[in-house]
Amino acid sequence: MKPRSLTQSMSSLHTWCGLLLGWVLFAIFLTGTLAVFDRELNWWMQPELPASTATQTAAVETAQRWLEREHPDAATWNISLPTDRSPVLSVSHGEQRRGERTLLDAETGEVLEARQSVGGNFFFRFHYTLHMPRTIGIWLVGFAAMAMLVAIISGIIIHKKIFKDFFTFRPAKGQRSWLDGHNASAVLLLPFHLMITYTGLVIFFLIYMPAAIDALYDGDRQAMQRDARATSAQQEATIARGEGRAEGQQASQRGEGRAEGGRNRGERPVEAAPLLPLADFIVKGEAHYGVGMLSALSVSNPGKADARVTVRPLLGSRIELTKGESLVFSGVSGKVLQSPPPSRASQLTQRVMAGLHFAQFGGYPMRWLYFLCGLVSCVMIASGLVLYTVKQRKQAKGSRVFLNIAERLNIATVAGLCVACVALLWANRLLPAELAARGDWEMRVFFGAWLLSLLHAALRPVFLAWREQFYLAAALCLALPVPQLLASFPTDGLRLGVDITTVALGLVLGWLALKIPALADTHSVTKPRAARLAGAQQ
């Protein structure tokens, strides 16, 4: 009648977390890892576009000339500047910031045609919504992140010999190897796993835990935002004048009321006034954010006396996540109407945590670090999933039916998702460029490939299904640069980087597929040594 020990109860909690959400977590981590290079993938997925070499100043002059000629009466102009990660100029007009974009050659002002694609943005959105309706997706991902956090801490409690485990790896020893692999990948990057999970929760913290707002602000988020801004006297003066108010609330309101200011002004007559050259505002913006640190510029009411120019920084000019931040100028006089107030300490804490998750700071070395750490997280989750089934099979306890389902789902989640991701890239290359709703078709290929891999996993023997799907993913990765070479699209560093990385990942997947026979000796239940090891496990 001995009460179960702490290690035992933590071990059962750890297993429950993995069982309930391990599969979802793997999908979240893999797509999140790929989303580190979302812009690079966007660029790769529109291979017709030539990289612009024009400066941002030259580009914005081109954009202004084009917009003044084509859309002089638009309520708003939006100009997305060419940057290192996304070297193309694009413009849009009208109320929506994310409407139809027109791609322009930054030097000549010619309209560029490129295939429609979901781009790397697909991985980014999937990472936090799982391609579900936004609210449901965000909650499910948040729930999975909590399970991850609990799994990490309970995992630490189980492993008292945490440092010894780090140096222990017994390859090709069946279950032992899986356990060692799981431990090593978990312990090696423990700070990263903890950081990325907690900061992930912090991004949507007020959605997940509205308790404090409910208690102190009666659930009124805007009242809270007003409190945040109240510190800056200059800000208050701006709000009192009613200028730039719509802009300031963008971060909190996401879309609604975005163009409110512009529309209201349109009702009363405002006299025409020439807009200053937009290149001036690049200089002003760079003076505030640093040279090369701007990403976009928008103009509301161009050509009117109340024209306003908003300059947006590149995410990642600092660790703090500056999403929605901007500088607002008068388009006629060039005076600053609104500058972002410095964040107060508590707000800065949240923004730095969110920024740590978004990984927009520190340039490419940091981006690669996040990518590699993310891959190790994926390995940790996948090895944990496999370890569970290997252990169950050895101990021959529990339901065989469930074990069978778990094994199939492991294959479809781990190997199948790898196949689906690279299938999306292939769809981008192979689908006809002029196909209508092409982005939707790319997604259909992604989900179709994933579904097929589940079917394949259900029908084939477990060990062969693993192997075949990894081989398929490897082959698809290795051959991915071929269509690019055949079509002789313009190539540049960014696209070459995507190709080389994919080929490298293909080699890793191929190596995994080759190694599977050695790893899979654990599937024979007959070995007495294996049974003894499994018994010693707990």
Binding site: M1, L149, S154, Y208, M209, A211, I213, A215, D227, A345
Partner: protein, 100 residues
Amino acid sequence: MTSTTGTTRKPWLDALLRLPLAILGGYLFTYTATAALARLLPVERYDAALISTLLSFALYTVFVLWAFAVHSLRRVLLGVALSLPLAAIGFWPQLLEVLA
């Protein structure tokens, strides 16, 4: 033996009862504790709301771990019941309004 409640039960049944208590009860506990903390922190209103919310995920994690570490389910239930006094602290102005 009366003290064996929670240890003699079948493991899967125990987990089946413990999981909802940890997940839903834990959320309730964290929600009210966050509200109470926000109310009690001696800093400006905005900072109090942010600090307590940022800490809430750690609190939730600790509650779930505790709910699995504790032997008797009755104690987990007691832990969840702490939500009542915490809610009273966090929401006392709203509570007074309702009572008035």
